[in-house]
Subunit: 176 residues, 2 copies
């Protein structure tokens, strides 16, 4: 595909700038809320994200943690190692797949993760609160299919498949 | 407004998780491209963002840099200080407004910033490339009015006003 033909330099720069400003603003707000939420459990955002992924994917490879957690493989490994040292997860290999390292939460890891979820307070979630005016217009939270499409082209189908698995698991957990 | 009535816990958690995963994924891709872009000029992303804001706002207060750059006031100040030491910007106070510190690019700062803009290569901008399939469907890049609404409720009208000023200035610069 010859992309050059399909946009002007001006369009490209204006679009890039707008996307940078909007996603930086929203991600930084989410990051701050997430840090405040998990700090009382002596966890940082990345450690909690590793727990999250291992919990909802019922075990995951370091490569899945890296991909879905949007962190370097070495970062995913190092934070997993710290969690292992605290007895919250274990490393393992599968008989039929010696190349990949799997992480799986211990009972203690599951317990801690579930405690963090119980402590989550949606009323202190600033992005969710800032989305309520849209919800009252649409009758539901926005779905951001355009963002999904961009993420799919950035990270491949696999990213959205993992997101789906994670959302499905989350939805089963919270159904009760 | 009694927000409690307007959403279920499940909806809230699913929505928050999805937003966290999508905005983290997109922001991290933008962050990486931005760093790669400005590194040859011996600048980091935050320093370039300060230059960007001071350039397009034709001078800005540290508080505006902090707000629009989505960084702490102390971070905005420290990076501005580094740029001042390199002779790229100057600090000043206005006669009629002694409380605020203004930053303004020097001729050298303007020159360096314009060189970075000339070196920007849209073809290596991964988020823009990942948005081209949407552009070919819609005939234009997506506008993300829902994200704008969320940002407005997170950071106030002022954020979008500065974004508008910045986009207008950018659009004048690139018109030629």
């Amino acid at each position: 595909m010859d992309n050059k033909e399909t946009y002007s330099l001006q369009e490209a720069i204006l679009y890039s700038h707008k996307m940078a400003q909007l996603t930086k603003a929203i991600w930084k707000a989410i990051e701050k809320d997430w840090q405040d939420w998990v700090k009382p459990f002596d966890l940082n955002l990345n450690e909690h994200h590793v727990l999250w992924i291992a919990y909802h994917l019922k075990g995951a490879t370091i490569s899945e943690v890296s991909k879905f957690g949007v962190m370097h493989v070495s970062t995913a490994f190092n934070f997993s190692k710290k969690l292992e040292q605290r007895g919250l997860l274990t490393f393992s290999k599968k008989e039929d797949d010696k190349r990949n390292t799997y992480v799986k939460l211990t009972d203690q890891g599951v317990k801690l993760f579930e405690e963090t979820m119980e402590a989550h307070d949606s009323e202190r979630n600033s992005v969710m609160n800032a989305s309520l005016p849209l919800k009252s217009i649409y009758g539901r939270f926005p779905e951001f299919q355009d963002l999904e499409s961009i993420v799919k082209h950035l990270y491949g189908d696999e990213y959205l498949e993992i997101l789906d698995r994670s959302l499905k698991s989350l939805s089963e957990e919270t159904r009760s």
